[in-house]
Symmetry: C3
Subunit: 159 residues, 3 copies
Amino acid sequence: MTIESTVLSLDNPVFAAYVLAASVMLLKLLLQPWMTVIRMMKVRAGFRSPEDAKQSPLNPAPVSGQLEPNEYVERSRRMNLNDLESIPAFLVAGLLFVLVGPPLLLAEVLFWTYVLARAAHFVAYATAQLHDVRATFWTFSSLSIIAMVLYTLYQVLTR
Amino acid sequence: MTIESTVLSLDNPVFAAYVLAASVMLLKLLLQPWMTVIRMMKVRAGFRSPEDAKQSPLNPAPVSGQLEPNEYVERSRRMNLNDLESIPAFLVAGLLFVLVGPPLLLAEVLFWTYVLARAAHFVAYATAQLHDVRATFWTFSSLSIIAMVLYTLYQVLTR
Amino acid sequence: MTIESTVLSLDNPVFAAYVLAASVMLLKLLLQPWMTVIRMMKVRAGFRSPEDAKQSPLNPAPVSGQLEPNEYVERSRRMNLNDLESIPAFLVAGLLFVLVGPPLLLAEVLFWTYVLARAAHFVAYATAQLHDVRATFWTFSSLSIIAMVLYTLYQVLTR
């Protein structure tokens, strides 16, 4: 193992800031399916596969219609799909951005704009706020990743 | 190029374990759409775009209903969507976990718990086992990624 | 910070080639949802959440049916889902491939085969070309990632 610190070490404050933001967003990505599970168990509906309507310890008293879409469950699935369109891109774009050596302040501003915008988007989506509110937070999250990619692209094109 | 070994070198057994598990999971992620393709070709149904119902070398004898959802094909699509909710998170969480320097044994246990749980989940889903069986394997896969993220978060918060 | 160059530095031409291709693909991944947004605004239809049909500055004159699937909008959503099945895999597979030290020429061929195949796939999908045309480009993109993963797997298994 190399002894001196490298870019991808927690001694590098830009990398440490990234790891913190990335870990928070990974938890968000990983916990959203659990919200879907909890909602499905609560309403005992919104299942997707034919076999899920069978009697089992998790579904002791099957009723008809359990395979129909259920808005309470579907909302959590849409939130999950929205995460899939955004969080993996953030995770990879953030890592490449760290590797081209951005200023710490710029990195912190972009990472935390993203995390806060996604947190606000989550609340707006879960509580069914007006589309425009959700769209505004989504825009901030999208633009902060695009800014990281453009910075990275500029660095590689002018190296 | 630096000559001494670094964390992200195959000389680091934790990284090598990650690269092996990650490569297996990448193949899983990349082959699932091929399973959808093979199923679509087999039943000549379950297409999604209007133009897919047109006559072509791959669809020489169009019949009506080819654009309707087909459970045999949809099952593979749901398996793919389930992969998308899990595998990219594993790939990034695993890499960050390697970068904060976990013990080799812990890394191997978490990586292989994930790979085995996903393999079992694939079999349970493809053969339409009771929901509870599939859910159990899914839970192991989800918890092993969450454990990696929590370890990473602890390292960055206590650095 | 370490001074000598490492594998993950823009001084490494394989890494620089990866960062360029990855940035282009990240922009593609991030801009596809904007295409969905633009299409939704243009036809004022194809919304997904019940609250999106309410009156608001972005939806000043609600009409019934705005929550029904709209093919013009759904096409962009399917393109986005197709991106999700492919681009995150490319981003991670490409990075691991760089880390196991492939020849520059092989890396450039695989990265640019992927980027060009996805660009052609985008055009074929957006303009609703025959399924076989889209499928051909998709196959090139899929095989180029699979090749990277197999190369990586070979390196880790024969280390």
